[in-house]
């Protein structure tokens, strides 16, 4: 399955040499929004200057809890939301332990990362990559 990864040694979470192009490009190109806070990944600078990335690893926990079967893996193994089936319960948000299934107050359905790779291309430091990893077994949540 396709998974987004980050090398925090390369990433400039503190914005000295980049503008978090990853977040901006995700918000813009994937969700057509100008607010980078609406991206499906977040890069934060911690108090000690180190970086922290909040990424979806396509673990599939959210699939397990969705009562409407609105979440499924696509052919590439990526967890995708089917908005037609979604009933807007937000259990996926509450049960994502990476806290990266999110909602935009303007939309009824929540959103998540699709491992599309747009942010990978946008990053000036090549800190992000899309890798192919085996699908983890389904967990009991």
């Amino acid at each position: 399955m396709r998974q987004l990864r980050i090398n925090l040694n390369k990433c400039d979470a503190g914005r000295k040499t980049c503008h978090h192009e990853c977040e901006a490009s995700c918000a813009e190109k994937v969700f057509k929004l100008s607010d980078p806070a609406m991206a499906a990944l977040h890069i934060r600078e911690m108090a000690d200057g180190s970086g922290q990335a909040v990424l979806c690893d396509q673990c599939g926990d959210c699939i397990v809890v969705c009562p409407a079967e609105a979440l499924k893996r696509n052919k590439l193994g990526v967890v995708m939301i089917d908005k037609k089936l979604c009933v807007g319960c937000y259990m996926c948000i509450g049960f994502c332990d990476k806290e990266i299934f999110e909602r935009n107050p303007a939309w009824l359905e929540p959103y998540k990362c699709t491992s599309c790779g747009i942010c990978v291309k946008a990053c000036p430091h090549a800190a992000l990559e899309i890798v192919e990893v085996p699908e983890p077994p389904t967990r009991i949540i």
Partner: protein, 741 residues
Amino acid sequence: MHQVVFDPTKVMDIDFTKRTEYLEGLDAIKAAHKVLKEIPFTPSRPDKGYNNRTLYVNVGTLEVQEKPVTQQMKDVFIGGRGFGLWHLWNAVKPTTRWDDPENEIIISPGPVAGITQYAGTGKSLVVSLSPQTDIPIDSNVGGYFGPLLKFSGFDALELQGKSDRDIILFIDGQKGLIRIEEAPLDPIDSHVLAEVLTHMYAENEADRVNISVVCTGAAAEHSLIGMLNFSWYDHRRGCIRLKQAGRGGIGTVFRNKRIRALVCRGPQVKGDLNHVADFETIAKTGVKYHKEIRENDPHQCMMRRNGTAHIVEIMDAYDLLPTHNFQYGSHPDVPKISSSYWQQRCTQKTVDGCWYGCSMACAKGADGVMLKTGPYKGHMVTVDGPEYENAAGLGSNCGVFDPDYLLELNFYCDTYGICTITYGTLTAFVMECYQRGILNQERTGGLEMIWGNAEADLEMMHQMARGEGFGIIAGQGVKKMKAIFIKNGWGDPQLINDIGMENKGLEYSQYMCKESLAQQGGYALTNKGPQHDEAWLIFMDMVNKQIPTFEDKAEALYYFPLFRTWFGLNGFCKLPWNDVVPSDNSKQPEAHKIPEHVQNYVDLFTATTGIKIDKDELIMQSARVYNFQRIFNIRMGKGLRKDDHAPFRALGPVTTEEYLSRQERYDKQIVDEMGLDPATMSLEEKMAAHRTWRQGRYEKLTDAVYQRRGWTPNGVPTLARLKELGLDAFPEVVEVVKQHL
């Protein structure tokens, strides 16, 4: 306390998509349906939780009518149980009994019901005059019917009249059609009927989730303890699931009206169909709660793994698990039916909420159950549960500790349409009567009703479904059985009355309350009879020890029945309130009320309706309906102090065996509480002293609770209390009270 650890590797490997199918005769069944009436309606969506209309159907005259919801109805009765009681009040006279045509069954979900963002928000409240108690009964039930009814356009469904043939009422909220169909060939038992009807009325596979069926089963026709199943389609399992409006015999009323089933086809559910006033607050509150479940449930109650069965072992450890008809509180075989077993037996790799968005997901299911007896012998079925009440009622209370038999008993109760709690308690009574010689094989028609004889137990249930033999007598419930046994001269009337666990005609639910004064009141000082929906205080009293003093207990018996009534006004489930708690809950003032969750409910109500309330107004909303229900009881000839008495088994040791099993505790109470010296007393004297002390204590509690509730010593709400609640605006309500002041 011993915390069961969940080990995923121990979960039984059972294919949860496999079971016996019942669709073969579908075409013939459908072809036999004859339309008796079909009328169009304009589907609507709620605005701030209300459609502002209800649907009235008379199944006898086939009259169908839309009724407006007035502002006064919303202000005073809110919805759900409140609407049900109000409709029922207007439908019946003091002389009306359960089987009169004017008796109604009202189903109403309440304004908040149907939101998908918070746990436990899909409940329907069902109200009717009970065949067991002759007063209103209300039952809180999951499944999709209530929300789908509301999203079709109705805040309540009122069913009145009696049909002379079996009918199905179909409400199509997609097309805007109400149809009454004669249904001559339809199967009767719920697991078959709900499956057949779901497939019959869904237009395609994807539409099945939009269908909910309400139905009962064969035993509801031959007993007074019938219940109603509310279905939803479990897409992952590929089968229908059932939740029960169990208590008080509403299924019996349903069949007496010759309603075979109600079917609602709602629109496809989305997160905003309830059209709430402030979606953002609801979304945020919901996400916060889902996170709390994710973080805390695995090391608190494990509701997602065990459902309510998690308290079997806790009740046993605290000597509160009803055993052998509430004589004892624990048993060495309990590990066989405790949650450590059920979490292995129930399917874990699926979603078990009885409405969308329930992250507590307690509606566990045991799949791949092969039935050993009865008409479905050899069938492979999915059993909903077992919930705590079933494990305790059908299990320990009857001495049945074989989990396979427990599942089978649970299954047949559900599909036959009888209440598992009631059936458990009445069977425990039958078994004790058998053990004590009040019954014998001749009197039971050959059933050897000794403790733990699950086969005889199942046969009695099959008899009830067939309308045969001793099953008919048992199906009358404990109260009527007591009268029959006494009239036949089969035993000492006092003993029979002491051990028959009913009050107001309703059987006790499954907590052994002898040692918990608060729960004694929680059971018998109730509106509808002894159940745990109204005041489940035993845990607070005996496990968490949060209400130690007499005053604390009286206050709890004021506050909690009101607080819990509120769930039923709005379409909430009670479990998400206190079966998980915030991590810092114990540090909060009044921790036993779970203050953060109370605030969640206040916020959810305000955000849905746009009506600003606080936690005090929440209680006032309930108090209006609660007192109205009390007055309704009085109007029907009950609801006074005489009706709030408890059988002595609920208050203390009836038999010498019970006394001796807890001799140390009881002797100590003789010293500490009564100031007597047990060493100088015979066993009989000690038991007599306990009876006097315990009954006196219960009466004292009754006095204190009535006073706190604003009632007279006879249990009648005072005019001052009515004024405070605004119920003085209803002259007919005031009139009932005046006759008793």
